[in-house]
């Protein structure tokens, strides 16, 4: 290698000017994307699969990282559902899209958007209940405590009870409907459901069975008090 001094001065100047021009140009252009940009229309899952060259698992998660920075303020929820649905189709076993749907997008202060996203979670839950129940359970809690919509919460809780079949689905998730019925003052229905659950033999844990029996007794006492 020849020493740096072998390079003519004008070439160093040109190099420095070129670098400064590049940095200045990029700085003047600003960021490529702003959080306030509109979410583009969702691609189909097939198009995403094509773009990922078959790397569905990585593509689905990168897609979620792409969606995350969009500001919630003016986000088009119809498009967002399309994106989340396509990413779920790309990797149906990924929990990321439903995590974001239930824990971020459904917690939007606007009740209409929140409901729309909860319905999306519900529809996706029906496609794979044993894997996706946690997100609908969260949806039921959101419907109950944030939206104060007990019939909606009951609908989600009932779906978890009816559609899940895996043994690893905890009983608290299947019992949610009973407690929502109590909150709705539908004590008779709650009593029937609780009695049915205890009689079914599905509850193996003695402490849990005792707790539910006590709850059933309380309900019966409450109902007797109402009928007098």
């Amino acid at each position: 290698m020849r020493p740096a001094a072998a390079v003519p001065g004008w070439l160093w100047l040109l190099l420095g000017t070129g670098l400064a021009a590049q940095l200045g140009w990029q700085a003047a252009l600003g960021p490529v994307r702003s959080p306030d940009d509109a979410l583009p229309p969702p691609p189909s899952a097939q198009a995403l699969r094509l773009a990922a060259f078959g790397e569905s698992e990585g593509g689905a998660r990168l897609g979620m990282l792409y969606l995350q920075p969009f500001s919630l303020r003016d986000l088009d929820y119809t498009r967002l559902q399309g994106w989340l649905g396509a990413l779920l189709e790309l990797d149906p076993r990924s929990q990321y899209p439903l995590f974001a749907a239930a824990r971020i997008y459904a917690e939007h202060p606007d009740p209409a958007r929140s409901r729309a996203m909860l319905e999306f979670v519900y529809r996706q839950f029906l496609l794979d209940p044993n894997r996706r129940w946690p997100w609908l359970a969260h949806g039921a809690l959101l419907a109950k405590h944030r939206l104060k919509d007990l019939p909606l919460a009951r609908r989600y809780a009932a779906a978890i009870d009816r559609h899940t079949t895996a043994s690893d689905v905890p009983l608290w998730a299947r019992q949610m409907e009973i407690f929502i019925l109590e909150d709705m003052n539908e004590l008779d229905a709650a009593r029937v459901m609780l009695g049915g659950l205890l009689a079914s033999g599905r509850i193996q844990d003695p402490a849990e069975a005792r707790f539910l029996r006590e709850r059933l007794e309380e309900l019966e006492v409450h109902l007797r008090g109402k009928t007098r």
């Binding site: 097939q46 060259f53 990585g58 998660r61 995350q68 076993r93 990321y96």
Partner: protein, 253 residues
């Protein structure tokens, strides 16, 4: 054994040409990318890291071996080294297959290195399945790069053809799914497009069934599915080797 000597010279050239350093650099880049992106993930951080590292390393292994095979073969042709080798009392099959064996061993070494990195995240049996599949996939790419380098005798053309074949094979299932969509054009032109795509697919390897990230993330493949994926790769590598050899035998050097 002359083939083994040729294969050894290919390995020596790869080592001296810095292939191990490039493989190491690929590993560092893949790990850095995974660590960076997992910092912005809200959930499934480990799954994101595994998915990205596996995808990036797979692409790096394929690119490195394609570039190594094409550039090494073309340098040999342009430096008249190939003519010198052919003056030795060895058959052309020995030359070609010895060279290919060298690249296949190079690819297997890269696949082993990349698989070891994935042991941080996934169970050894699954990583082993993924690694063996990657070694077979890279062997196929080496056979393709050698074939194109020998027949096209131009680095840009050989790399473009190898990349085109590989990317088309990776994308083909998605292209077929798009053309078979219920919303697809029902006219004769649409029908012709679908038949053409299906015909092209018959000429390509099923890379979508091999080296799958889901083996690392979710379930290991069934024995039948795994064996079928590897058999597909090996059949195609054999086809490429036979095609390259046929062309090499016909060539006037």
């Amino acid at each position: 054994m002359p083939s083994a000597t040729l294969a050894r010279s290919i390995l020596l050239e790869a080592r001296r040409g810095g292939l191990p350093w490039l493989a190491g650099a690929s590993l560092v880049v893949a790990l850095a990318l995974a660590v960076f992106l997992s910092q912005v993930a809200l959930t499934e951080r480990v799954a994101l890291q595994v998915a990205l590292v596996a995808a990036v390393l797979r692409a790096c292994a394929v690119f490195l071996i394609a570039a190594q095979a094409a550039s090494s073969t073309l340098r040999e042709i342009h430096d008249k080294g190939l003519e010198l080798m052919l003056s030795l009392p060895l058959s052309r099959a020995t030359h070609y297959l010895g060279r290919l064996a060298g690249f296949v061993v190079c690819g297997a070494g890269i696949a082993l290195l990349f698989s070891l990195a994935l042991l941080f995240w996934a169970a050894p049996p699954r990583v082993a399945l993924w690694g063996v599949s990657l070694a077979c996939e890279v062997a196929l790419v080496a056979a393709a790069a050698l074939f194109f380098a020998m027949t096209l005798a131009n680095l840009v053309a050989a790399m473009t053809a190898t990349a085109g074949l590989y990317l088309l094979a990776r994308a083909m299932p998605a292209i077929q799914a798009i053309t078979a969509s219920p919303l697809a054009d029902e006219s004769w032109a649409g029908w012709l497009a679908r038949q053409t795509v299906d015909a092209i697919a018959l000429l390509l390897p099923r890379l979508d069934t091999a080296t799958r990230t889901e083996w690392l993330l979710y379930d290991a493949p069934s024995i039948l599915g795994y064996a079928s994926a590897l058999a597909g790769l090996l059949i195609y590598a054999l086809l490429l080797a036979a095609a390259g050899l046929a062309d090499f035998y016909r060539r006037n050097v």
